[in-house]
């Protein structure tokens, strides 16, 4: 991030990225379709399940693979869980950027730990799960998982209330975040922003609603939007989205088939028909897409990842020009930037 300052007022800013560029797209060309799944984990490492889902769905779309019902529901439950954990992280680090000395972050981290525990239970890892497979899931979930998710869904709203009490009405927080870092609706659309950033600007656009993938058309949920597109709206939209995610999880748990296959019959080394596909989902950070070109071999000819956070910071310079350095930090925090995804 290169800043030009006049006193403490920002006159120009140029985000310089690429410090975590690991060449995932190039590496993917040398790996088989299954071996790419661990790579996609490492994109947006705060929400690696959704990355797995996005990639697997793109491959399934190209290969015409039908995913079993139970796997679809489990995918929905797990990715909503991960959405909550990612939003908790986003809000927590945003408040930390405000200067709240780790306390809100640590309270949110407590709930995040609960989610990580459950992911650990099903996949064996706390952060990078490598749990989804093309055609479903790698293993069935244990029975405790369902009961613990139910308990989590039941008690999570109480904790969300606690967060609201903690900072929602804090005068200093309001003074710092309201009206700061405004992203107008027109600009948000022009730069192709997505996810909570776009919705905070007042555009009601959620891929889960507008282009339902998986089984999302069977759930009843709302798409929260903000009005001003400032830092506070982005914070508040995330809080509301967590509530909606809980609603989706509740419905999915009720509709979940008790038994059934969890993976379509896909061998570990498989080929896809030659062709190309663009599969995308609504990841916690926004619209995450995978563009896969296949030439019929066991490895993709080209894999392109469409990263939501890189697109979201396109108008960053506009948002902070004329504001103070402190606002820049706050705005950057409210965009929920994950470098692994920007740089790939």
């Amino acid at each position: 991030m290169r800043l030009t300052l006049d006193g403490e007022v920002i006159t120009d800013v140029e985000p310089i990225v690429g410090y975590l560029h690991r060449g995932i797209e190039k590496l993917a060309e040398t790996r088989t379709y299954t071996q790419i799944i661990p790579l996609t984990d490492r994109l947006d490492y705060l929400a690696s399940m959704t990355n797995n889902v996005a990639y697997c769905m793109a491959v399934e779309k190209l290969g015409g693979i039908k995913v079993p019902e139970r796997a679809e529901y489990l995918r929905v439950i797990i990715s909503e869980m991960i959405r909550i954990s990612s939003h908790l992280m986003a809000i927590g680090s945003f408040l930390n950027d405000c200067g709240a000395f780790f306390t809100p972050l640590l309270y949110m981290w407590r709930e995040r730990e609960k989610i990580l525990d459950m992911c650990d239970m099903i996949s064996g890892q706390r952060l990078l799960y490598n749990f989804m497979r093309v055609g479903g899931l790698s293993q069935d979930v244990p029975a405790e998982f369902i009961t613990s998710v139910k308990k989590f869904v039941a008690e999570m709203p109480r904790y969300i209330d606690e967060y609201n009490q903690l900072v929602k009405e804090n005068e200093v927080f309001l003074a710092r975040s309201k009206g700061v870092g405004i992203l107008p609706k027109e600009t948000a659309i022009a730069i192709g922003a997505s996810g909570p950033v776009l919705r905070a600007s007042g555009m009601k656009w959620d891929v889960r609603k507008m282009d339902p993938y998986s089984v999302y058309d069977r759930f009843d949920f709302e798409v929260p939007t903000g009005q001003n597109g400032d830092c506070y709206d982005r914070y508040w939209v995330r809080i509301l989205e967590m509530t909606q995610s809980l609603r989706i999880m509740e419905q999915a748990l009720a509709q979940l088939p008790a038994k059934g296959p969890i993976c379509a019959d896909v061998p570990q080394f498989f080929t896809l028909p030659a062709g190309e596909v663009y599969g995308y989902i609504e990841a916690p950070k926004g619209n995450l897409g995978f563009y896969i070109v296949s030439d019929g071999s066991i490895a993709p000819y080209r894999l392109h990842i469409y990263p939501p956070t890189l697109i979201n910071i396109t108008a960053f310079a506009d948002m902070v020009k004329g504001w103070k350095v402190a606002d820049l930090i706050l705005t950057f925090g409210s965009m929920d930037v994950v470098l692994g995804e920007i740089d790939r």
């Binding site: 007022v9 309201k178 103070k324 350095v325 606002d327």
Partner: protein, 369 residues
Amino acid sequence: MTLLDQFQLFLKAQGWPEWAYYTVPALAGIVVIIGVVLAAVIVYIWWERRFVARIQIRLGPNRCGPEGIFQPIATAVKILLKEDIVPANADKVLHFIAPIVVFVPILMIFAVVPFDRGAILVDLNVGIVYVIAISSISVIGIFTASWASGNKYSFISGLRSISQMVSYEIPVVLSIVGVVLMTGSFSMIKIVEAQTVPFILLQPLGFLLFFMGALAEMNRSPFDLLEADSEIVAGYHLEYSGMKFAMFYLGEYGMALAYSAVITTVFLSGWQGPFLPGVIWFLVKVMLVFSVIVWIRSMMPRMRVDQLMSFAWKAMLPMALINLLVIAVEVLVIPSLQWLMLIINFGLAAVLILLFSRIFTLGGGRVEV
């Protein structure tokens, strides 16, 4: 009659030479004060770490000695033994002087803080003025440090520190003047003795203003702009290591301790209290004030520079002036009716806070460039 005076008389009676019975008690007092202060700083550092940890539902350092009480000592020893680095583009002399300029005035504040009846190094008749004057010297050290480091983050921090100190000094002084009006003396001992009812009850608004101003002057949250680690890395002591950093570090906590002690003396009736000896009461009260500071630090977001400034000039200064005016009138008209003063001043605080929350705006604007 302070303890030092008694010591002096004792030496005189023993037939010591004249120069000795002036210097020996003074030196002994200085050594005791420094020892007590450093010990207290270490305890309070430990207390802060544990207290914040408990607020954050964790345990905090508990491995060094019983419940981790030796943790700050380990930290101190380790920092002292670190390599001392002077950056290539630093101003060598100023880089060396700055930590001393920060640290020494903070120790000097304790010279006039009464720990108990008579337990004061020197009972100046302008004690409170001395405190205010001395406490603002360390900002010069901070600015020197930020300049001498030759680092842009440090320099921003230094600029912020100067502006912050200049703006918050005025409400602090004005809120103290209210106390002085009631007491009729600048002496710290007289101020304590005048508090049959603690001044926090008689002057709630004055206390609030002084507390906020003190938070700003000792760079504690929500006014900790100098070391906003998410904005300007670590602030003015970014380029310091080893012993010099230790001095800044101790100075930071010493400052918090000093202000806690001053608040205790001026608003919480110092050593006075039933049953227990005065020094225990004093330390307990200091601990209480310090805990509140830590508590606030644990959850408050940080203010922005311009908001900080406008808060000082547009809200705190007028409030302090109105408070001063009302107290002056009260002292003139009803000097003995303390219960009436109490009611009036609480009413005043409530009205002013309501009023200012309506008309005052924290500048939240975008500066067009």
